[in-house]
């Protein structure tokens, strides 16, 4: 069989050229005589056609060169034949759980499961027959496939370059990929080196495939952080962190929990755990803000599940400006720690340099001034004319003027009121200039806005007391503003499994973001608006996302299935079919051999040529 039989068409022009060259050539037999002195007088005889034909047909050089040309063309035609060889695919689990360490009995130390698997694969490959063609699959989140080769040096190189990942994968998926590699070759053997339980559908192993599972792990029960929480309350701006630790061991054990914020340890606590017990540890974070990390410190084979993260934003009490003559309101508000209260009589004008977050007004005095660099207001209000703009579109006005009154009327959908609409980033703002700005607080309706003074942003809500007292929605509005100014800490708020994509929503103003992964590598993305999908989450740990005035974080955690707490697989061998045909076929090319023979024939021709001349 020839891979490219059309190459034989080369013979059509080449063979006639060779024949013509020989025919035109008048070279004849040469006889050496003592002297041609007496032959110089003889006539010069041309070689007859018959003799020329006879000459090159009897010439060994002609036939040798013909053979050379034929072999060269045959090499170009790529002769192939089917050769039966054994095929094997080594599937090496490189997922997170393979980072767990096992006791090395030979060297009295600890060795990672992945190293044990690679060593086992190396020994088997070295013991394999030299003609066996072996492929290797690195089974991580994505399957990295190294093609079939009989070159053991290449296979050793591939094994030495295998790296662990923090991701998870499906054993059946990798075995399926291996089967797809083997079936075109006619079958073969799959060697799966893993620490995970493997359950394969019966249909996966078709006729001609053998599967050998090599288990590389042992069950090592210990504890893990199973939950992290940062509760907050309206009245308590300080943060708390609650870590819940579960023991998976049938025996009692103790562990140490350590909390650090921005890599500085601030607290630790010992946790005593009963058999299979669950315990919560609470840490008071006070005024701390930053990235909190909670670590469970105990002897563990796999440390990836022993860490939790929480983002703690700065917290501050709200400044509340009360313009009212009613003392009972003032007394009530003074008792709340969440507010810094500034009380002004209705006939007084508040200090324009105050930067209140909330203004509560009484009576007709609903105009006040604040000092701000920039004021963003909802478009319902015109600060110059102190009038509402009737036709301005805006969700806030709709919500305030419609939903609240609906609620007053007992609207059944009040629970579904989209309080999120109150979030400042959702409100279409109007931007005003720098300096002391006059803001109108309406006696008929509240307004919400944001202004920036110094390096801080303030949410502002002006409420007529009449409405505040009579309308519980106003309290909800206050709570929403309080939360906006003091967002609660987020413990493991954005959690994805390693290798999974996460979608974040940076503000529209952000032109680009930087993503710092747990290894410190930085990736920058240019934003074009809208949500951002981040797919490169292969490393377990905390990812920081920063942009223009925007900071976000998310955590990539290893899959629960990748824990060292699960029972490893049992070594077994599954043979499909009766004998499990493990010998496939490959197409082997003869071209290299022909290309080796060609120079030998050329050397032979040269040798004959020079020998004849000598």
């Amino acid at each position: 069989m020839f891979a490219t039989p059309l190459a034989f068409l080369w013979l059509l022009p080449v063979l006639p050229i060779l024949v013509i060259l020989y025919f035109v050539n008048q070279e004849t037999k040469v006889f050496e005589v003592p002297s041609i002195l007496h032959m110089l007088a003889l006539p010069d005889s041309p070689v007859p056609v018959k003799q020329r034909l006879r000459y090159f047909l009897n010439s060994p050089f002609f036939w040798l060169q013909l053979l050379l040309i034929f072999l060269l063309v045959a090499a170009l035609a790529k002769p192939i034949r089917d050769r039966e060889v054994r095929h094997s695919v080594y599937v090496i689990d490189v997922t997170a759980s393979m980072q767990a360490t096992e006791e090395d009995s030979q060297k009295s130390g600890w060795k990672k499961r992945l190293s044990i698997a690679i060593e086992a694969a190396r020994e088997r490959i070295l013991d394999a027959p030299s003609e066996e063609r072996i492929a290797i699959i690195e089974a991580g989140r994505s399957l990295v496939t190294h093609p079939f080769t009989p070159d053991k040096n290449e296979l050793m190189r591939v094994l030495s370059e295998i790296r662990q990942t923090d991701t998870a994968s499906s054993a059946s998926e990798s075995v399926f990929a291996a089967a797809n590699m083997l079936l075109p070759a006619g079958g073969g053997r799959i060697v799966l080196l893993t620490d995970s339980q493997v359950s394969l559908p019966a249909s996966l192993l078709k006729e001609g495939l053998n599967l050998e599972i090599v288990s590389v792990g042992t069950l090592r029960p210990n504890a893990a952080i199973v939950a992290l929480d940062t509760p907050s309350s309206l009245l308590d701006p300080g943060g708390k962190l609650i870590a819940r630790v579960r023991s998976f061991s049938p025996e009692a054990m103790s562990a140490k929990l350590a909390v650090s914020i921005d890599d500085k340890e601030i607290a630790n606590s010992n946790v005593a755990l009963g058999p299979m017990g669950l315990k919560a540890a609470t840490f008071d974070l006070g005024e701390h803000s930053g990235i909190a990390r909670v670590s469970l410190i105990l002897e563990d084979a796999l440390a990836l599940d022993n860490t939790g993260y929480a983002a703690l934003p700065p917290r501050r009490p709200l400044m509340l400006l009360l313009i009212s003559a009613r003392k009972e309101i003032k007394n009530f508000l003074e008792k709340l720690d969440s507010f810094d209260l500034v009380h002004v009589q209705p006939d007084e004008q508040p200090d324009p340099m105050l930067m209140p977050d909330i203004v509560i007004v009484e009576g007709v005095t609903d105009t006040f001034s604040i000092h701000a660099d920039t004021i963003y207001l909802t478009p319902e209000f015109d600060s110059e004319s102190s009038q509402m703009i009737p036709d301005a579109a805006g969700e806030l006005r709709s919500w305030i003027s419609d939903e609240i009154y609906y609620w007053e009327e007992g609207h059944p959908l009040i629970d579904q009121v989209a309080l999120d609409n109150l979030r400042p980033e959702k409100i279409p703002f109007l931007k005003f200039g720098k300096g002391v700005q006059t803001v109108i607080g309406g006696s008929r309706a509240p307004f919400v806005g944001v202004y920036q003074g110094g390096d801080r942003k303030h949410a502002i809500c002006a409420l007529p007391i009449r409405q505040m007292l009579n309308n519980p929605t106003a309290v909800l509005l206050l709570m929403r503003l309080l939360e906006w100014c003091n967002p609660r800490g987020r413990a493991d708020a954005n959690v994805v499994e390693t290798g999974s994509a996460i979608t974040l929503s940076p503000p529209d103003e952000a032109k680009g973001i930087r993503i710092v992964n747990p290894t410190g590598a930085v990736k920058e993305l240019v934003l074009s608006g809208g949500p951002v999908v981040i797919e490169e989450t292969d490393s377990a740990g905390l990812y920081r996302v920063e942009g223009d005035g925007y900071q976000e974080f998310f955590i990539a955690r290893v899959s629960p299935g990748e824990s060292d707490l699960s029972q490893p697989a049992q070594s077994t061998e599954i043979v499909s079919g009766e004998e499990g045909k493990v010998r496939g076929t490959v197409k082997s090319s003869f071209s290299p051999w022909l290309l080796i023979i060609l120079p030998c024939l050329m050397l032979l021709e040269w040798w004959m040529f020079f020998r004849r001349r000598i």
């Binding site: 004849t28 040469v30 006889f31 050496e32 005589v33 002297s35 007496h38 003889l42 070689v47």
Partner: protein, 316 residues
């Protein structure tokens, strides 16, 4: 006399001694009155200390009184002294062509026969107490340019010298003649040129003229191999023939016509060589080697043909 049984290349050991005995009855003939040198077996034209009486002459002051012939002096009453012919030696040079054409066809044994002729004639010269010089051309770097011998007891060394040249290369006869002239150093004598003379006419003409003009007596002995008497038997195919010395090639076809043309060309070449030799008063002898029985042919050539043409003569 050394062991000379293996002296010749083509004559068997048992026939060597008889051949030498018959040779000893001959000597080289000199057709010119040549001026020899030293003492030898030839009678000089000059008076000297020889054994043969030359004449009486008047006594002159200073003559050795032992040479006074007292009887004659008493008869004429005047002192006479007796003078004698001086015996002298002659210069003989034997040049042997050892080019590739001499050995190209081993069956012809051209070089061996030429060596034997040179040894035979050299032996004759040594028997005459002449100085015999031998030279070959072309030579290898190891071969001495010539070999000189004056004693026939060293005749085996002549054989060794000649056998040192295995044959090969291309002959330049004029250059070889120049070397011969340098070796003669102005002495008169005989030069024997042994070759197949398969080269252009101009070459042997220049060489012979050069030697003759310096007063040397020249003998040309042409050795022709049996294979050269006709075209090779190669069928009627067109072939290329290559000159063994020059490498020159010619495409020929062997037919009856070309055979005839070849023989004509060969005859013409020999005739022109012979005519030239006669015109220069140079001995010319042609020895066509037979297909077999080389030793009989050689003996016939040396003992009959050469004396018959006058180059050798019986001892006086």
């Amino acid at each position: 006399m050394p062991d000379t049984e293996s002296l010749f290349f083509t004559i068997s050991p048992e026939r060597t001694r008889p051949f030498l005995s018959r040779l000893e009855a001959l000597r080289l003939r000199y057709i010119r009155r040549l001026r020899g040198w030293g003492r030898g077996a030839h009678i000089s034209q000059y008076a000297g200390a020889g054994m043969e009486f030359r004449e009486f002459r008047d006594y002159a002051q200073g003559d050795d009184i032992r040479n006074i012939d007292w009887k004659t002096s008493a008869r004429f009453d005047k002192p006479y002294v007796r003078t004698f012919q001086q015996d002298e030696s002659r210069f003989s040079h034997f040049f042997l062509d050892t080019s590739r054409s001499m050995v190209k066809v081993p069956e012809d044994r051209k070089l061996d026969v030429a060596r034997d002729i040179a040894v035979s004639l050299g032996y004759l010269a040594l028997c005459s107490e002449d100085s015999a010089n031998f030279s070959t051309s072309p030579r290898t770097a190891e071969t001495p340019p010539n070999f000189t011998c004056q004693n026939r007891a060293r005749v085996m060394e002549v054989r060794d010298y000649l056998s040192a040249s295995k044959g090969g290369g291309m002959l330049n006869l004029p250059a070889a003649a120049s070397e011969i002239l340098q070796e003669s150093r102005g002495r008169h004598g005989t030069v024997v040129l042994l070759s197949d003379f398969l080269f252009l006419e101009e070459a042997y003409r220049r060489a012979v003229r050069m030697l003759v003009s310096h007063g040397l007596q020249v003998a040309v002995i042409q050795v022709i191999g049996q294979s050269e008497t006709g075209l090779p038997e190669i069928g009627e195919e067109v072939v290329q023939v290559s000159d063994s010395e020059t490498g020159e090639r010619k495409r020929i076809q062997v037919t009856a016509g070309t055979r005839r043309l070849y023989r004509q060309a060969m005859g013409t070449h020999q005739q022109r060589l012979q005519s030239f030799c006669y015109s220069m008063r140079v001995w010319y002898a042609s020895f066509v080697l037979p297909e077999a029985d080389h030793e009989n042919a050689l003996e016939e050539f040396v003992l009959r043909q050469l004396p018959g043409m006058g180059f050798l003569r019986g001892k006086v």
